[in-house]
Amino acid sequence: MPQLCENTGSAARDFAMLERNLLSHLRLAALLLLLAASILLNARLPSSSDPSGDTPHSSGRIPLASIEVAAAVVAIGAGIWEYRRGYQEMQDMKGFLTAVKPHFYVMSAVAVVVFTTCIILISDSGI
């Protein structure tokens, strides 16, 4: 719920930074969900080499799309967790924000998922 915070020092700018960080996570999650939808629906933007935009069917579509959805949920979770942790620590006037390192590890895992997806898409032309 919204709270009234006295705007001392750079409080408003600091909370705005947390908001921007959260929005970046939400944007990434939206793109991950878009990727999952594209895999499930066998759809992509049509091009001169592939005017229909369709791809052949493959049994790996659902597991891969599920992993993308899970990565999107993890990205949203990491964003919300970083926001809430940072919010609390800013209110407590802590010098260092402690969410940085765990957040780095979680988002590295999401990056690994994206990288692995690239490899799978290259190796399995049916997806």
Partner: protein, 146 residues
């Protein structure tokens, strides 16, 4: 061998509270860039990778990988840059001889000093420039291969 921990006014980083609002503003200003802007840049590159990966032609798969690598490298650079804050305010660096002769800011003599002299982002900027240049060269190679 015991790990060499940093202390801040005699406290560990997780239990450290700045002395006053001015010092807190100094911390937060760095965190807005090191914890915020760098991380968002990395997430943005990852988003581009996803867009290139699936929505466009299959020939874009390799470009998707390239952007994923770019994102990973920016994450690493962000992590390294963020660690500067941990060093900047550490007690052990306050009187460190290698920071004895910083460049003086005109008109700021006698003013309050926060932490050790600020180390500008020269190496980080060069690292990022090298990373982005390498990715752009890779992009050109992939384009000419198609």
């Amino acid at each position: 061998m015991a790990k060499d921990h940093h202390y801040y006014h005699g406290k560990r980083s997780y239990s450290f509270y700045p002395q006053d609002v001015n010092e807190l503003v100094e911390f937060r200003a760095r965190q807005r860039t090191f914890d915020g802007a760098y991380g968002r840049s990395a997430l943005g590159a990852l988003g581009y990778a996803l867009t290139a990966l699936r929505l466009f032609d299959k020939r874009f798969y390799n470009i998707g990988i390239l952007y994923t690598v770019l994102s990973g490298l920016i994450f690493v650079v962000a992590f390294l840059r963020q660690r500067h804050s941990l060093h900047d305010f550490a007690d052990s660096y306050w009187a460190h001889p290698s920071f004895a002769n910083p460049i003086r800011t005109v008109g700021q003599s006698g003013k309050r000093v926060f932490g050790r002299p600020f180390v500008t982002a020269g190496r980080i900027v060069v690292s990022l420039a090298v990373v982005v240049a390498a990715v752009e060269i890779g992009l050109l190679v992939l384009i000419f291969q198609v």
